[in-house]
Symmetry: C2
Subunit: 190 residues, 2 copies
């Protein structure tokens, strides 16, 4: 396959979609984010990149805490709304049934089947974004998405974001088993 | 929805899947990674978290360069293989048709329709992982996945990884338009 240089603007194909919750200026605030990744297993560390001027970034810097809630396809409209509107313009929490866990300043979204509260451990300052690294304190889930006590993705029904087509997609066909389907390519005898 | 505390071990639901390419000890090496995110638009910055002892991490530290290739569902077996095998045990590049762009030490995977070469800008040391931040120098794509010069996700057919069920999934039904379907929840007159 011959490749063409298409510049240096890029996306991750596809991106997860989460709601980041904070207490900003003493009020609960929620924002949609797709620039999010796991960083480390033990301690469990998550990273999220947010614009320097975001109301959510302000809250994380004020309190040192934040939450990440994982929506299901049923919350796509709510998630999109939380990505369209700035927290300093409109109180988004009016549409959110929020709950708290052990941390004071990490409100989570009850409509989302899985949510986790985090303590900020490190902030990487980039030219226009902060990359916040948080240690997960607790993960909360509704019984309906668990199988034998762990999150069952088929029950969670997450969705992803793709750009530049700006679309949300549900998961589709199962392609195969991870840490298994590649074994056929290993050298014989290994 | 009543929530249950299920501990602090977590995943991102779901995760993108990419191949990270390096020159390690002077040889091309490829590794599957799912802990990857966009961090910043201009300059375009990407971040990937890799185990301290990975052959790929060694290569990035040696050369200050790496690549990220985006597979399509057709490469799922190759991707899984590159995640199963350590580069210091087996030369994975035997299964890879590699190509180079402008950078000397960022070999990319020709089988993958989209790939990008990156210069390391920052390394965050975590207890057991490095989080590498790279600036994208160039993105390369095959004409077959482009529509009017930009990557068309429907043509790319990416897949995602979910854990703890260890499954790869294709994208399925389109749920809706991002930056649009949430407008209905805005306050009237805004």
């Amino acid at each position: 396959m011959v490749k063409k240089n298409i510049g240096r603007s890029f996306n991750i194909y596809p991106m997860p979609v989460v709601l980041v919750g904070t207490m900003t200026d003493g009020k609960a605030n929620f924002m949609t984010a797709a620039w999010v990744t796991k960083l480390h297993s033990e301690p469990p560390l998550v990273g999220v990149s947010l614009g320097l001027r975001q109301h959510t970034a302000k809250g994380i810097r004020q309190t040192g805490q934040f939450s990440i809630s994982y929506p299901t396809v049923d919350q796509a409209q709510l998630v999109d709304y939380c990505g369209l509107v700035h927290g300093y313009e409109e109180d988004k929490s009016a549409h959110v049934d929020l709950f708290h866990g052990a941390l004071e300043s990490a409100p989570m979204v009850r409509q989302c089947p899985v949510a986790m509260e985090c303590r900020l451990t490190q902030t990487i300052e980039l030219p226009k974004d902060y990359f916040f690294i948080g240690e997960v304190a607790n993960v909360y889930a509704t019984e309906a998405v668990l199988t034998e006590g762990v999150v069952d993705v088929a029950k969670l029904r997450p969705f992803v974001l793709t750009m530049p087509d700006n679309s949300y997609w549900a998961l589709g066909e199962r392609v195969g088993d991870a840490w298994s389907m590649g074994k056929a390519l290993r050298k014989p005898g290994e």
